[in-house]
């Protein structure tokens, strides 16, 4: 369809080619005729050039205007984007991170809908929180509690737990929704999370004592695996993403019955982690509303599988040493060994 042979400047080119010939002949009549044609064509080209330049200037003016508007709009969009990001960040603190991310990816359905799913549920609670809160200044209590929740939350998120809610001094986390690694791995992640929380708490207690918090928080933990209803509860106007069901209550009762600093789990959880942790079976418990005896296991420590990976020492005099060799690389190990040797020398010299 396109005409490859046509040249938009054919007339101008032809005139130039003719000029080369005419000017070479020294024929005055020929030169005069050519000059007349050249004058006519040149006049046309000048007019065209004037029009085209004018048009080009108009286009340029429009482009400059559009560019200015674009810059203003881009600036406005950037500022709106920053506002939305800040708002998203603020809102995100009120939601489980997985739900927050899914919402902003656009693949989370905010309908009132729930489903039955096998989950591993975790509860923790601070022992004697009411008495502790009476013995501390409210500001100090807030600081310690926020530090405790921040550290525990970091651990829960790292293990893939969904933080359901903080209820006063209690914390409720579950594994298996909205993301699941399969019920076995969900249960294992939950127990490993609880152990890491327990270890972190020991560090926090040590630091708190140094900062003057004489009787720092001590925590009970309970874990159960079972079918729960999970999803969006509430109304179209106000939703809560949470879990409900008898198995949730079992986790809470286990926590309530746990010794201070202890982690209790049900047989359903234990079955998934028995190769992972040392556990002691306790007396089965009967719970209101649960139609079976709950076999109870107390988590003692991670299993070392023949290799010593954890060094733990505790004394009543406020000395606590806990070294997880799994999480220390070769370089850090030699540095740690040097420090321990120096510490040992100091102890022996005293």
């Amino acid at each position: 369809m396109a005409d490859q042979s046509f040249d938009l400047y054919d007339r101008e080119k032809q005139l130039l080619a003719e000029g080369k010939v005419v000017l070479g002949t020294n024929n005055p009549k020929g030169v005069l005729n050519y000059s007349k044609r050249l004058y006519k064509d040149f006049s046309r080209v000048v007019r065209e050039n004037e029009d085209l330049t004018r048009h080009s200037d108009r286009q340029e003016r429009r482009l400059v205007k559009l560019n200015k508007n674009l810059k203003i709009q881009t600036k406005e969009l950037d500022s709106r984007k920053t506002e939305l990001e800040e708002l998203s960040g603020q809102l995100g603190k009120y939601l489980p991170p997985q739900i927050h991310e899914a919402l902003f990816r656009g693949d989370y359905d905010t309908k009132v809908a729930t489903q039955r799913k096998k989950l591993t549920v975790f509860f923790s609670d601070i022992k004697n929180f009411t008495q502790i809160s009476e013995s501390l200044q409210p500001e100090a209590l807030t600081d310690y509690l926020n530090e405790y929740f921040s550290e525990m939350t970091k651990i829960a998120v790292r293990h893939g737990g969904t933080i359901d809610k903080y209820i006063g001094d209690a914390m409720m986390v579950f594994f298996g929704d909205p993301e699941s690694k399969g019920e076995r791995d969900d249960a294992r992640s939950c127990v490993l999370m609880a152990i890491e929380m327990h270890e972190k708490l020991q560090q926090l207690q040590h630091n708190w004592r140094k900062r003057g918090f004489e009787n720092p928080f001590e925590v009970r933990m309970g874990i159960n695996t079972g079918y729960c209803n999970v999803g969006n509860f509430g109304s179209e106007q106000r939703l809560t993403y949470t879990i409900i069901g008898g198995e949730v209550n079992v986790a809470q009762r286990l926590e309530a019955n746990a010794p201070v600093g202890g982690i209790l789990m049900s047989y359903e959880t234990f079955a998934h982690v028995q190769d992972l942790v040392e556990a002691e079976q306790l007396k089965a418990m009967r719970m209101k509303g649960i139609g079976r005896d709950i076999k109870v296991f107390s988590v003692k420590a991670r299993k070392n599988n023949g290799v010593v990976k954890l060094i733990e020492y505790e004394s009543a005099k406020g000395v606590s040493i806990s070294i997880d060799l799994n999480s220390i690389n070769r370089k850090d190990r030699s540095g740690l060994a040097r420090q321990l040797k120096m510490g040992l020398k100091k102890i022996e010299e005293e």
Partner: protein, 126 residues
Amino acid sequence: MNDLNIQETERTPEIKLSVSDGVFSIRGESFPEDVSAFYGQVIESIDLLKENIPDRFQVIIELIYTNSSSIKALYRIFEGFESIRQGGGNLDILWYFQEDDDIMEELGEDFHDRFPDLKINVKPKN
């Protein structure tokens, strides 16, 4: 015989020529990669009309955007209209521009001034 029916693309306008109906139209945006190749056939078809001038000829130009090279091609097309007019043809040229599009309006006026023998009616498209 010289009829044209060129479909609109992202870079080129729709161009229609019906000799029997005496209608020629250009609609859309014009910034072809090769202006000579695209407009060559159009310029040649209009030039051919000089040999068989229609009684009445309706021209509709409805461009949204045109680059400078396309304007050069439009000059050639309008020179063809000028020849038809000089040959006794009765042409009616409507140059439409989108409301608020001062660039296409002013370009229409430039053509109006440049070809005073042609009846070019520059008006907004409703």
